[in-house]
């Protein structure tokens, strides 16, 4: 059943928890609301459940307006944070609760089946406090699912579980969702959880949806610094858009070129073949660096226009250029010549290298940015890549994105 939120908002006194919000959650999808605590994601979920009345806007379930319906009349069930299992009822009675309230007479068979589905058949007569966290979680799930709701709402359902169990339950939830085929709306602050489970994710920040889309798109092409930092890690480099290159017709997408603060220094540290790199303004304009190698390639970074989040960016626009740490390759400065042509490149010095098991994490100081993070697969490592070594960082233009420089570059960084 499709859920349509239109213009829905929620204010508590002077505080606006959710700004007017439009959202369509397609039928049968696994939809995640992702954000740090206090971003309005739980309030949004509670409005869908009917536990919070929206200040404005409406909620449609299919074609029915359920905005003013009390929670017990909505065909929607919730798996609560910390589960909210009734401590005075045993597992079977907890699961049967919803059916009994709707006047279903013989609940036994259904309860048994549901407990089998969540693999708790043997626990039917236990009290909730006698169960482990994972078992309680499954009871909460069974208690909601047995009612065959049109939509299942999950409020941080795995938050109280330890890492291993959380991974296991993520897969389990995904399996059950595929099995029952109903719409799941999942609220979480854990970006990894949202990415592994959801078909599409809405990232919320300060009561607004920052970006909405499939997990891969959010990760690969973030449109705001919050999304870039909150989902994984991003290197953000201050830069300025350069005028379009000569010789490219307006129709073809030559992409956008930007120059960074490190243009001069990187040029001098590089092969030194550039022309007129002394002044920043001349660096890009002076040469047809398009597919060239060497100094000019370093001075400017390229990216496809579609990956620029700033609308109507023209020469001189300040932007933040981003690249994910695992997209960057590190090459020792002695072998700068092996860097593939057409890659974006920066030169710098390794300040720290730490071993993470599956990968190495390097911190590289460059003129463009005091600290760039690079993840390198833990195979065939170049022994010369130690702190102090001079290196060339390079990556494909298609892995580059650009964001509006007017926002806080650190947004979403400390958020858990």
């Amino acid at each position: 059943m499709t859920i349509t939120l239109s213009g829905i908002s929620k204010r508590f006194g002077d505080f606006t928890a959710v700004h007017p919000l439009d959202l369509t959650i397609p039928e049968g999808s696994f939809f995640a609301l992702l954000g740090a605590s206090g971003c309005g994601k739980t309030t949004t979920l509670r409005m869908i459940a009917g536990l919070e009345e929206p200040t404005a806007g409406s909620i449609l379930l299919g074609d029915d307006d359920i905005t003013r319906l009390p929670p017990h009349k909505r065909p929607v069930n919730t798996v609560f944070q910390n589960y909210a299992l009734f401590p005075h009822l045993d597992v079977a009675e907890n699961v049967a609760f919803g059916l009994r309230r709707r006047g279903v007479r013989s609940v036994r068979k259904q309860v048994e089946e549901m407990l089998e589905l969540v693999q708790l058949g043997a626990m039917a007569r236990r009290k909730p406090r006698q169960l482990s966290g994972g078992q309680q979680q499954r009871v909460a799930l069974a208690r909601a699912l047995i009612n065959r709701p049109r939509v299942l709402l999950l409020d941080e359902p795995l938050g109280a579980l330890d890492l291993k169990l959380r991974r296991q339950m993520q897969l389990e939830l995904k399996r059950i969702q595929t099995e029952v085929g109903i719409t799941f709306v999942h609220v979480t602050h854990d970006q990894e959880e949202a990415m592994t489970m959801a078909d599409s994710v809405a990232v919320m920040y300060q009561g607004r949806v920052e970006q909405l889309g499939p997990p891969a798109e959010l990760y690969e092409n973030p449109r705001s610094t919050f999304v870039a930092n909150f989902l994984g890690t991003s290197n953000l480099i201050e830069a300025e858009v350069l005028p379009p290159e000569e010789g490219t017709s307006a129709g073809t997408d030559a992409g956008i070129r930007v120059k960074t603060a490190g243009a001069d220094a990187s040029a001098s540290a590089g092969a030194g073949t550039g022309t007129g790199t002394g002044s920043g303004a001349g660096a890009g304009a002076g040469s047809g660096a398009g597919a060239g190698v060497g100094g000019d390639g370093e001075a400017a970074l390229r990216l496809p226009s579609a990956r620029c989040a700033v609308e109507g960016a023209e020469a001189g626009t300040k932007v933040l250029v981003g690249v994910r740490p695992e997209k960057i390759s590190l090459t020792h400065a002695d072998e700068a010549g092996t860097v593939p042509a057409g890659h974006n490149r920066l030169t710098g010095r390794i300040t720290d290298a730490s071993y993470l098991g599956v990968s190495w994490q390097y911190l590289v100081e460059t003129p463009a940015c005091p600290e760039l993070t690079v993840y390198a697969q833990n195979v065939e490592r170049d022994d010369r890549l130690v702190p102090g070594a001079r290196v060339v960082l390079h990556w494909r233009p298609s892995h580059t994105f650009a964001l509006d420089a007017a926002q806080d570059a650190a947004a979403g960084e400390e958020a858990l």
């Binding site: 459940a49 009917g50 536990l51 009390p70 929670p71 017990h72 009349k73 929607v76 069930n77 919730t78 609560f80 944070q81 910390n82 909210a84 299992l85 009734f86 401590p87 005075h88 609760f97 919803g98 309230r101 709707r102 208690r143 909601a144 009612n147």
Partner: protein, 294 residues
């Protein structure tokens, strides 16, 4: 990291700093003086417990006494006369019945009204809430004799006949606060999400209250009710100021007997209630334990 610190800490804590390490094994010293000091608090606690329980033992012991005169203050001979004939004293069992009647009624009324008020105070914000809280708290911070004398003065001024009703009114008055405090504490500690879960699971307002709220609040309500019963049953001061000549509760009977002569049966009643109550509590705990283990 923690594993490296526990070593020195454990060693440090086993001997007071500043004193040289005693010779012999570096484990906790076995010197009796040291052991005494370590367990001084337990000894003092047990002594306090003995102080608390001594009178009950004396009451129990003297329920088997065969006193010489009317007063049962010194031991003479063993006898089970009083136990075989607990109602052998004029008026005593009547007063016991009156006390029970008043206690049951006062408990019912105070528990009902107190529970309503506790829900209002725990669940709602409204004008005058802090005043109401003070009003509820004040009777517990007032010496009984003040409440007794002032309520008695009111009844006198209103020319209300002292008797069953006046005692009942007084008992409900001082029990209310205790019920409110017990229930309020429980309701405030209840997870509001449980009621949300019920509403989410198709329970309407009434069903939510009946199936979830009330069962969850029940321990607090039961505690308040038990406290009310005990307070009402055992009350003397307020009762003495507000009783009529024909309404003699059990504590008033004992008071009167203390002047005229205390029958052994009083000890029988006291001991029987003590033993019964302790057995009930312990039995309840044992079954609860067994059920938890099962």
């Amino acid at each position: 990291m923690p594993s490296t610190t526990t070593g020195p800490v454990a060693a440090r804590s086993s001997r007071p700093s500043g004193t040289p390490r005693p010779s012999g094994p570096p484990r906790r010293s076995r010197s009796p003086l040291r052991r005494l000091r370590r367990n001084a608090v337990v000894l003092a606690g047990c002594a306090a417990l003995a102080y608390l329980l001594l009178p009950n033992l004396v009451v129990l012991l003297f329920s088997f006494n065969k006193p010489a005169g009317r007063f049962n203050y010194s031991w003479r001979a063993f006898s089970t006369d009083a136990w075989t004939d607990p109602c052998g004293v004029a008026d005593m069992c009547g007063s016991l019945r009156l006390s029970l009647q008043i206690a049951v009624l006062a408990t019912l009324i105070a528990t009902a009204f107190g529970t309503f008020a506790a829900f209002a105070l725990a669940r709602y914000r409204f004008r005058g809430k802090s005043t109401t809280n003070a009003l509820i708290f004040l009777p517990m911070a007032m010496p009984e004799v003040v409440m007794a004398a002032s309520l008695g003065t009111l009844f006198l001024n209103m020319r209300i006949q002292f008797g069953f009703i006046t005692i009942l009114i007084a008992h409900v008055m001082f029990c209310l606060s205790f019920v409110v405090v017990a229930v309020k504490a429980r309701v405030m500690s209840m997870d509001p999400r449980l009621e949300e879960a019920a509403r989410d699971l198709y329970a309407g307002p009434f069903q939510t209250f009946w199936r979830v709220t009330l069962p969850l609040a029940a321990p607090g309500i039961a505690a308040g009710a038990m406290l009310s019963f005990a307070l009402s049953f055992d009350d003397f001061i307020i009762t003495q100021f507000n009783a009529g000549p024909s309404t003699v509760t059990f504590p008033m009977f004992v008071w009167g007997a203390a002047q005229r002569g205390v029958p052994v049966q009083v000890n029988v009643i006291g001991s029987a209630m003590f033993v019964l109550a302790v057995a009930l509590v312990l039995g309840g705990q044992l079954t609860a334990n067994r059920r938890r283990r099962a």
